[in-house]
Amino acid sequence: MKRGQYSGAAPGGKFGESAIPLILIAILAIFLAGRFGIVDFSGVPVLNSIFPSPKITVGVVGRSSYDMRALLESEDYRVTGVYFAGDIDQKVIYPGVLNNFDVIILQGESTCDRTARKVIADRVKAGGKLIVVGDACTRVSDDRAAYGWDIGIGSLGDVVPVVGGGVTKELEMLQTNAVRGKFKVVAVNHPVFNGVKNFGFDSEITAITVPKPNAEILAYIDASSIGKVTAPSLFAIVESKGLFSGKTIYFAFDPATVAAQGTGRNMFLNTLLYLRGAKG
C-alpha cells in the first residue's frame, strides 16, 4: 500500500476526511445566514450570544404623526429591536441615502418629487421594505396634472400595491375621512395578525381606489353596520406580491393612531418584524 492510501480496514477515517469540508461549508452557511438575518438565531441558546436579535432601523420619509413617533420610540418596540432614526425630508433623498434603513415609512407628506420617488422605488426593488400610510407621496411639486403613486417610469408605482385617484385618467383626489366601523382581518394566517382579532375601528382612513393585480388584501374596514357582508367596506391593509426581493405594505389608516386607542399595537410591531424577514 502506498503512503497516503487508506486501508479497507479504516473506512471511518475516509468518511471523516470527506465530511470535514461539508461540515465547514455548513458552519459557514449557518454563520452567513445568521449574520445577514436570513435565519433568526436570537432565540437559540448559545447561538443568541453570537447572533443577537437584529435591529430594525426605521425611517419616516415625510412627517411622522405624533402617535407614530411615540409608538416607534416606545420601550416594547425598542426591546424588540426597533430603532427609530427620525423623519427625513423628501428633498434630501438622493441615491444611497436610504441604504441604512431596514424599513422606510412614507407618512405625513403628500408631495414627493421624482428623485425621491425613484430612490425609494430602487431601494425596494433592491430588497428594501416600505410602509405607505394614507395619501403619502401622491403629488409632485411642479405638476398639478400629475397625481398618484404611478408618476414616472420605473418609479414608486412599480412597488406600491394600490392605485390612488380613480381608475380613469380624470383627476380624483384621494379622500381621507373619519370612519367608524370594524377592522376585519382577511388573511387570518398572515404573520402580521398573530394574536390579532377583529376590533372596533374609529379613525381616519384614506379611500384608495383599487389594489393592483399583484397585491394581496390583508384587512378591510367594515364601515357600516357590523357583521353585514354586503355593507360598504374600505381597503385597510394591502401587501405587495411579486418577484422583487423587497416588499411594500400599504396602510389606508395611521396604524399608530389606532394603536394609541388601545388596539392594533401588536399588529404594527408584527408588521415590522414580518418585514424584517419578508421576501417577495
Partner: protein, 288 residues
C-alpha cells in the same frame, strides 16, 4: 459520502454551462433593451447594469433658425430636458447641419421648430430610423419640403451622369405634401397647423401607457398645435386633444414602433406645461 462527492463533481461540471446561459441571458436582455422592446426599468436592477454597459445616452435636438417657420421651442425643450436628466448629453443642432453620420451617434433625435425640410435631410432622417434610431417628433416639424441652391446644384450635377435625375427630383418635390416620404415612416399625414386655440383638454386614450403614467387629464392654456390624421393600423394613440366647445378630437400623442421608437406629439412638449409628461416621454425614449 461518495455519492455526495459525485453529485458535487457533476454540479461543478455544470458551472460552465450555467455561466454560458447567464451570459446569453444578459446579451438577450441587452439587445431587447437596446431596440426598446422592453424598458430597462421593467427588469429589476437592470437599468444600472445596462447603463454601465451601454454608457450614457445622447440626445440631439434639431431645429431651424429662430426666424424660420415651425412650432416649438428648441431652447425651451433643451432646458426642460436638462433639468430632468442632468446626466444625459443633450446637443442642439441646426437643421442645416444634419447628416446621416451625425445622427447615428444619438439614441434619440428630437425634431422641433423645423417646418421646412430638404429632400436630403428627409432621407437622412429616414435612414436613421431604418437603422433603429428613435425620434421625438414635435408639431409640424419636417412638414414642408423645400429646395436649397445646394440641392439644385447637386441634382444638376447628378443629372450629368444620370440623365433625367433633375426632372425626377423636381417632380418628386412638387408632388410631395406634408410629411412626404417621412409620413410613411411616421404613419401620420399632416393636415394643418392651428393658431393659438383655447378650450382644449389633454386627455389620455391608452391609460396604462408608460408615457402617461401618473398624468391625469387636464385643461391646456391657449396653445398652437398641429392637426394630423393617423394610420390606426400602424400607430398607437396615447392621448388626444378634446376641443370642449365642439367636441372635436385631435390626435395629441402617437407612438409607432418602427425599428426603434417614433413618438409624435401634436403640441410641442415644452408648451404643454406638464413636467411629468415631458419626463415620462424622455424616460420612455432614452434609457440612460
Amino acid at each position: 459520502m461518495r455519492g455526495v462527492g459525485k453529485t458535487l463533481d457533476e454540479l461543478a461540471k455544470e458551472i460552465p454551462h450555467l455561466l454560458v446561459v447567464a451570459a446569453l441571458l444578459i446579451i438577450l436582455l441587452f439587445v431587447v433593451t437596446k431596440f426598446k422592446w422592453v424598458h430597462c426599468s421593467q427588469v429589476p436592477q437592470w437599468c444600472n447594469v445596462y447603463c454601465e454597459l451601454n454608457g450614457k445616452s445622447q440626445v440631439a435636438v434639431i431645429s431651424g433658425n429662430p426666424g424660420d417657420p415651425g412650432i416649438g421651442d428648441a431652447a425651451g425643450f433643451r432646458l426642460q430636458a436638462l433639468n430632468d436628466r442632468q446626466f444625459t448629453y443633450i446637443a442642439p443642432f441646426q437643421a442645416s447641419q444634419i447628416t446621416a453620420g451625425l445622427l447615428e451617434d444619438y439614441e434619440l433625435v428630437v425634431l422641433t421648430h423645423w417646418k421646412q425640410v430638404t429632400l436630403k435631410q428627409a432621407i437622412a432622417l429616414r435612414d436613421y430610423l431604418n437603422k433603429g434610431g428613435s425620434i421625438l417628433w414635435e408639431g409640424d416639424a419636417a412638414s414642408e419640403y423645400v429646395t436649397t441652391p445646394e440641392d439644385e446644384s447637386y441634382a444638376l450635377a447628378e443629372n450629368v451622369s444620370k440623365p433625367g435625375f433633375y426632372e425626377e427630383y423636381k417632380k418628386l418635390l412638387n408632388k410631395t405634401q406634408g410629411f412626404g416620404l417621412l409620413g410613411d415612416v411616421l404613419g401620420v399625414k399632416y393636415v394643418k397647423t392651428h393658431s393659438r386655440t383655447g378650450g382644449l383638454k389633454y386627455q389620455s386614450v391608452k391609460d396604462n401607457h408608460l408615457m402617461v403614467s401618473g398624468v391625469h387629464n387636464f385643461q391646456l392654456q391657449p396653445i398652437v398645435f398641429t392637426e394630423v390624421t393617423e394610420n390606426p393600423a400602424a400607430l398607437t394613440k396615447i392621448a388626444e386633444l378634446n376641443e370642449t366647445s365642439t367636441g372635436k378630437l385631435y390626435p395629441a400623442l402617437l407612438e409607432r414602433k418602427y425599428v426603434g421608437r417614433i413618438v409624435y406629439t401634436a403640441v410641442p412638449l415644452e408648451f404643454i406645461g406638464s413636467k411629468t409628461l415631458t419626463t415620462n416621454v424622455l424616460d420612455y425614449l432614452v434609457s440612460c
